[in-house]
Symmetry: C2
Subunit: 326 residues, 2 copies
C-alpha cells in the first residue's frame, strides 16, 4: 500500500497531472537533484505525455531570442492557451543572466499561473544539456501545458541535440551579428522549421532576411519529407511586429505535421535520440561513480597495454549490463 | 595456422612494426574503411605502443597551425628523430584544403620516409573525430615514430577530446584573430601545456603574447599537479624564430612528465577516455546498424508511451551485451 502523503511520488505525479504549479516545480527540482531517485515518477509522467506541442527556440547570444520568447508567451496566453518555457541557455535572462528590462518582463509572466518558466542548470563548463531537461519537458506536457518551449543557445552539438527533441524548431537571428553565418556553422540552418529575424525595426534587418531566404532556396533539397516552406519572419520587440505571424507559423507547422504523419516520425526520432542519450549517460555515470574501482581496473589494464581499448569497452558494457540486471 | 600472405593481418602488423611505409598506410586505410574488420590487428598493434611522444596541436583556422607543424616536423627530422602527423582538421592543408605554398612545403615533407603525414576524414557534417584517429596514432607509435602529432581544429567538444588523447597539448594562436578569446571559449586555454603565438614577425604579436601570459597568470590554479610553467612561445614562419624553442619545450614537457609520474597519470586518463568513447561508439553503431529492427522496436515503444526512455536505454544496453557475449 502506498501512503498518500503529499510528498510521496504517486501523489506528486497526481498533483502534476492536475497542473498544480508547486508540484510541477518540486518534481522538476527533484529531477535536477537526482533523476534516478525519481525514476518511477518520471516513467509514470512519461505515460501521460504526448499532448503538448514542443517548440525548440535557438539562436546565438544577442539574437534577441529571450525577449522573443517572452513576447511569444504573452501571445499564446492572449489566445487562452497555457505555455511553459524550459531554458537551457546559461546566457538567458530566464536563467538570470540579463538586463533589468528583460527581468521585469519575465517576472510579469511568472505571476501568471498558466505560464510556467524554468531555467535548467547546464551540465559542464563547456555548456551542454542537463540530463533533467527532457524529463522537465515531459513533466510540463503531462501537466497540461499546450505549448512547451525549449530555449537553447545555438552553439555546440548538445544544443543542437536538444532542439532535435522538439517537434518544431525556431532559429532566431538578429541583423548585424553575422548570425546567419554562425547559424550555418553550427548546423542549425538545416534544422530550422521556422526562421525569425528579431529587431526587424532596424534598417539592416532586411538584408539579414534576404540572405536567409537566399540560403534557404539553395538548401531546399535538405528540407524534410513534408511539403513545408520554411518561413523567414521578421519580428520587433519595439513594435510587436511579427509575433502573431510567428505563432500562426508554429500552429501551421503543427497542423501540417499532424496531417502528413510527420509528427509521428518526429516522435519516433525523438524517442530514438532519448534512448540513446540515456544509454550514453548511464555509461558516463558508471565511469564517474566507479565505487568498486572496476572501471578503473579496466582503464589501468588498457594503460598497461594488457587490454585493447575495444576489448575494454566490451568489458565495460558487460559490467553495466550485470549491474542493470541485478 | 595463419598464412603469411602479404595482405594477412598478422603480416601487415609485422610490416608496420618494421616501419614499412606502405604497410602503415594500408593499415590506416583499412581502419578508416572499417575499424571492426581490423579489430584483431589493432589490438595487436596496441600491445606494441607506448614509446612515442604524442603531441596534440590545436588552434582555430588562421592560427598558422599547419605551417607551424610543417616546420616543427623539419626541426624534429634535423635532430635525427622520426615524426608523424595525423591531421583531423578539415581546413588543414594536410587534408588538402589550403594555399599552394603550404602544399609545396607539405610535399617536400612527404618525400622523406621518416616523416609520415596522414589526414583523417572527419565523422559528420558538424565536424568531429574519426573513430580511426586514435588507432592511427597507435599504428604510428608501434611503427617507431618518435613523435606523433595530432592536428585538430580548436572548436567543438570532439576536437578538445582528441587533444586530450595527447601527452602534450600545444595551442596555436595568431595575432589579430581574437584567437585568445576563442581559445578560452572553446576551453582549450586550460588544456594547453604549451602556447604558441605564430606570425610573431607581425607588430601586433607582442600584444597577443602579453594577453596570453596575463590570462595564464590568472588561471594558475587550473594547471596540472605537475610543477610546469606553461610557456608562451612566439614563432615565425618567415624568420624561423621560435621553432627550436618549441621543440625544446615539447621535449622538456615530456621529460618532466616522465620524472614526476604525470606521464603515467595521463596515459591512464587517455585509456579511460578511449574505453568510454569506444563503448559510446558501440551504442551508436548498434543504433545505426539495426538490422533486426530490435532497437527500432524499443524506440517505437517509447514513442507510443508504452516504455519510458530510461527503461528503453536499459533494454538497449541489455541487447548489446547479449550480442557482445555471443
Amino acid at each position: 500500500m502506498t501512503t498518500a502523503a503529499p510528498t510521496s511520488s504517486r501523489a506528486l505525479v497526481e498533483d502534476v497531472r492536475r497542473g498544480k504549479v508547486s508540484a510541477i516545480a518540486r518534481l522538476i527540482s527533484r529531477t535536477e537533484a537526482s533523476p534516478d531517485a525519481v525514476g518511477d515518477a518520471l516513467a509514470e509522467i512519461h505515460r501521460h505525455t504526448g499532448r503538448a506541442h514542443i517548440v525548440g527556440i535557438t539562436g546565438v547570444p544577442g539574437s534577441g531570442k529571450s525577449t522573443l520568447i517572452a513576447q511569444l508567451c504573452r501571445q499564446v496566453r492572449d489566445g487562452g492557451r497555457k505555455v511553459a518555457v524550459v531554458a537551457v541557455d546559461p546566457t538567458s535572462p530566464f536563467s538570470g543572466g540579463s538586463i533589468l528590462g528583460d527581468r521585469v518582463r519575465m517576472s510579469e509572466l511568472n505571476s501568471d499561473p498558466d505560464t510556467f518558466i524554468r531555467s535548467m542548470a547546464t551540465r559542464g563548463n563547456l555548456g551542454g544539456l542537463s540530463r533533467a531537461t527532457l524529463p522537465a519537458v515531459d513533466i510540463l506536457d503531462a501537466a497540461g501545458f499546450d505549448i512547451v518551449i525549449i530555449e537553447t543557445v545555438g552553439v555546440g552539438q548538445d544544443e543542437v541535440d536538444v532542439v532535435r527533441a522538439a517537434h518544431t524548431t525556431v532559429v532566431a537571428s538578429a541583423p548585424g551579428l553575422g548570425d546567419d553565418i554562425q547559424a550555418i556553422k553550427a548546423g542549425v540552418l538545416e534544422i530550422a522549421d521556422i526562421h525569425v529575424v528579431s529587431k526587424c525595426d532596424r534598417p539592416d534587418a532586411n538584408r539579414t532576411i534576404s540572405e536567409l531566404k537566399a540560403m534557404l532556396t539553395i538548401g531546399m533539397q535538405l528540407s524534410s519529407r513534408m511539403d513545408w516552406r520554411v518561413p523567414v519572419i521578421g519580428t520587433s520587440a519595439v513594435t510587436g511586429e511579427g509575433l502573431d505571424q510567428l505563432l500562426t507559423a508554429i500552429d501551421d507547422h503543427h497542423a501540417k505535421m499532424t496531417e502528413t504523419g510527420e509528427l509521428d516520425r518526429r516522435r519516433l526520432r525523438i524517442a530514438e535520440m532519448r534512448v540513446l542519450k540515456f544509454a550514453e549517460d548511464m555509461l558516463r555515470d558508471r565511469f564517474e561513480n566507479d565505487r568498486e574501482g572496476r572501471v578503473q581496473e579496466i582503464a589501468e589494464q588498457v594503460a598497461r597495454l594488457e587490454l585493447a581499448p575495444e576489448a575494454g569497452a566490451r568489458r565495460l558494457l558487460g559490467q553495466i549490463q550485470k549491474e542493470i540486471a541485478s
